[in-house]
Symmetry: C2
Subunit: 284 residues, 2 copies
């Protein structure tokens, strides 16, 4: 596996690969790779014949007081794991390489960034949309793979790609979970053993809702009950638990179209998110 740190070198290589008729599949990450990321690499290998993985902890998508400084990093571990899973190129630019001067340009997606995590993390999704635009212009992928775990991020990327006519096929891969159901996340290592034990309830609550909700179910009372369960977890603070359409993220009262039930819970300094997609069979 080749490691590239320069924007110019990555861009030139991407251009050369494209001229040779190779198909570039891209997995953008913030590193500290776990099995969830590696499943994205598996999907990328199906989506193209050159797999580029980027590792970049993007400062512009962290707000003041968020966990940019303590976000876990392990580039040599990442390199081993990505290579082991069949990635061809690891793109690992420095912040200075990505933002050499004061950036004045932002890509902003309206409406769907104002709810769920977006309502609590001001500017987060602008930071995400902007850095993904930059990475797409540098890596020039034919396809890019994102995890369903960040469902709102997936919706934002899909909307941006559509609106800006980016010629990139977006693939969303189901969340990979620990044996007990906890969604894999680079942030899980920051949980205390006690917090880790309680965190299993996030997915249990979501699975319970998925198994209960039918198109004619009144959802509100079920969500209230689930909220009470999560709020009652020792040391946990529920930020939100909501059902919304997907990928439009509009409020829905019944499961009458494709929907997502998404939540965010804080355990002390550690903020975890999870969600399930409900596929409406009446669609399509």
């Amino acid at each position: 596996m080749k490691r590239i740190e320069s924007v110019r070198e990555m861009q030139d290589l991407a251009g050369r690969l494209r001229r040779e008729g190779r198909r570039i599949a891209f997995v953008p990450t913030m590193g500290y790779l776990h099995e969830g990321h590696l499943s994205l690499i598996d999907e990328a290998r199906k989506a193209g014949d050159v797999v580029v993985v980027s590792v970049f902890v993007n400062p512009t998508q962290f707000g003041p007081g968020e966990d940019f400084d303590v976000y876990p990093r392990d580039i040599s571990g990442d390199e081993t794991k990505a290579a082991g899973r069949g990635a061809d190129i690891l793109f690992h630019p420095s912040a200075r390489e990505m933002y050499p001067g004061e950036p004045l340009t932002r890509v902003h997606v309206e409406k769907i960034t104002e709810v769920l995590c977006g309502a609590r993390r001001r500017g987060h999704f602008s930071g995400v949309a902007t850095v993904v635009t930059k990475l797409f212009n540098i890596v020039r992928p034919h396809a890019a793979v994102f995890g369903q775990k960040d469902a709102q991020q997936a919706a934002v990327i899909m909307t941006m790609v559509r609106d800006l006519n980016m010629d990139v096929e977006i693939r969303i891969v189901p969340t990979v979970r620990e044996k007990d159901g906890l969604a894999m996340s680079s942030r899980n290592v920051r949980l205390s053993p006690e917090q880790r034990k309680h965190a299993v309830m996030l997915s249990k609550v979501l699975f319970g809702l998925r198994d209960t909700i039918r198109p004619d179910t009144a959802v509100e009372p079920l969500l209230k009950e689930a909220e009470a369960t999560l709020s009652g977890l020792p040391g946990a603070e529920l930020e939100y638990l909501e059902m919304r359409s997907f990928p439009g993220l509009e409020p829905v009262e019944r499961f009458d179209r494709d929907a997502v039930i998404a939540l965010a819970v804080r355990f002390g300094e550690v903020r975890l998110i999870d969600n399930i997609l409900l596929k409406n069979d009446l669609d399509s």
Copy 2:
């Protein structure tokens, strides 16, 4: 010359041309082509071996009450002129083709869009940056050519391309003028004979300043005098006359770096802009 109206067809053709190793040079326009645009096509022929000209009157860069509805249009004339000057492809999408649904995504450049025209035309440069991003993703040019007449637009595009790592070479071509000095503009046809006569003063004032200002000149009194001249034109309303650094568009008091002197004047419903670049020899 080939005429294309479909985004998908243009995007596929661009991909094919790139795989064949052709170099795409792009001239985005709002049509009603005049000699200024045609000089951009000349430059594009030097910048690449396939020249794409787009004609699209972009609704999202016009504010309420601006001249979108009356902006002059003549697609068959444009086709003849572009072909005559050696363009290979005319890309002419409908508004519905470019904006099939409600667009949620905007590309916004901060600071340099808040002055000059940007201070008076709220949202204008977001509309420009967004549509140029879309057009770049559709036409996928190696090089793109813009006119210096829209100096602030040129600065915005250059900044956006730098910040978002767009792999497009930007070329800026000097303003083409009528014999008496009036900057060519599609809007000039909307001037009455009387207004047209007075409009010559816009460039005369700019040339006068260019010929007077030296690195040690106190600029402010000269600008005040020029403002008085323009404000005194019958039927004219001066919006602004300012000297700023280029392309950073910061206020400057002396000509101690590359600078632009830019103005906007309204004759009734018709708003004209013009500018001159002052190249500081101490730079390089």
